[in-house]
Symmetry: C2
Subunit: 266 residues, 2 copies
């Protein structure tokens, strides 16, 4: 056995507001559950609480829609101010039909409404944007958690850890639809501490022939796995994944983004 | 905690050949690992071993490519016999470019090469096809495992189970690429015993407003999670997922397949 993977919901995160220190909040929640971060752990954190902590919130009352936003709003049946915010987050409209806007964001993500979302927000007429740089958010959270692991250990005057915490990965996730398939799945939008793709190219299969499946988007699979313990309405925005073997790496979501030239669907 | 999810690699499956009894093989492998199936368990099984057991293998030496297959083979640089097999499995070619064939299969799946694959096969010049009806394969495997759980308990003359095994789900998975994103992920192609989509429509978010994320493709997320313990070259074609709360259901993959009329990308 030994190699089983555990996915643990992190409860008690509570309300996040602009300026909230997610590192402290997550550390405290883990501690309350009797959990201490260990080398090799992976934390998957939903975009929504990162965006809230970073103040990536827009009040629609302060938005004046452009003429283009008004046109799209008429065609799509959306609030023109909401459309205006979506367009500001959009580098290119990939598809627009039947009230659905598929956008390429300034980050290079392709998703509905450029990730602009009105669910799970305390204020009425407010929408959330994706973090400006989700990789940077993931790196910052990872570093905060590492530093808290050191200071927490000394503050409590416990014996020092056997192994200092060094290998930790943070994935920021969002829940997106897909072409061809119904239902949404969690995807990685920011990655720190782990390579988002595991590359099998050139490795032989069980019979010594080259593998067809050559590169697995493990960061997306980890995000999808974490979603299974995050109930949408139950306030579980963080999951701890333990037991997945990976090599430490800087991370970054860029290897997951297919370049336009090799993409048959945009 | 209680609600954590465990993903356990099932080892020792060994070579599968046409006619292999996957139910017996998986039961034995679980037993060797000291595992007994329990109510609520989910088994994720890779398509490749199901296809092998069902004899869904084609020797390229017995294939005569059509004129159309020859044309595509010239354009794509593939073996014309391999292209011929792909076309036989294809209802509609969705895209063809730079050696990549994106096909809609007779099942309604959209994937590269209609799921025809040459990796992890014992014979040279052989390819595997997707199971003819992966839902039926999943149902048959589920029923075989349920009946073995009953007979196994009596054969060993152990005390009868506290609870007879009733709630078991089987997902058959394949590993596919996606538009817009690099890297492949595991997807569900056959489902028995669980609804493939968890529907949140109409449910309120944490603030009483309707959730944007309304339907989660949990069967795909479960398949993706299972992939994390299946090393491509290491012979782990089955994973046991334990601790995921779901209601028993007939299953079937059809709710995951977006109908062409509402699909912006085909």
């Amino acid at each position: 056995m030994g190699e089983e993977l555990r996915i643990i919901p992190v409860r008690g995160i509570g309300e996040i507001t602009p300026g909230s220190d997610l590192g402290v909040i997550i550390s405290t929640a883990l501690q309350t559950q009797g959990l201490t971060l260990a080398n090799g752990d992976i934390l998957v954190v939903t975009q929504k609480i990162v965006s809230k902590a970073e103040g990536r919130l827009v009040s629609l009352e302060e938005v004046t829609p452009s003429a283009f936003a008004l046109t799209i709003a008429r065609e799509s049946g959306k609030d023109p101010r909401h459309v205006e915010v979506i367009l500001r987050e959009t580098r290119r409209l990939v598809r627009m039909d039947r009230g659905v806007l598929i956008c390429e964001t300034h980050h290079g993500f392709i998703c509905a409404n450029a990730g602009v979302d009105e669910s799970n927000l305390a204020e009425q007429h407010q929408v959330s944007l994706l973090p400006r740089d989700p990789d940077r958010s993931a790196r910052a959270l990872r570093e905060r958690l590492l530093s808290l692991a050191v200071s927490g250990a000394s503050r409590d005057e416990k014996p020092p850890r056997q192994e200092p915490l060094e290998q930790l990965a943070v994935i920021i996730s969002d829940t997106w639809g897909r072409p061809w398939r119904n239902g949404q799945v969690n995807m990685a939008i920011g990655v720190a501490g782990l390579a988002p793709i595991r590359d099998y190219r050139g490795q032989p299969d069980a019979y010594g022939r080259e593998l067809r499946v050559s590169a697995i988007a493990v960061a997306d699979e980890l995000a999808a796995a974490a979603e299974l313990v995050m109930e949408k309405s139950a306030g579980v925005p963080v999951a701890l994944i333990r037991g997945y073997a990976y090599s430490p790496a800087v991370g970054g979501v860029e290897p997951l983004l297919r370049d336009a030239a090799s993409d048959l669907f945009r």
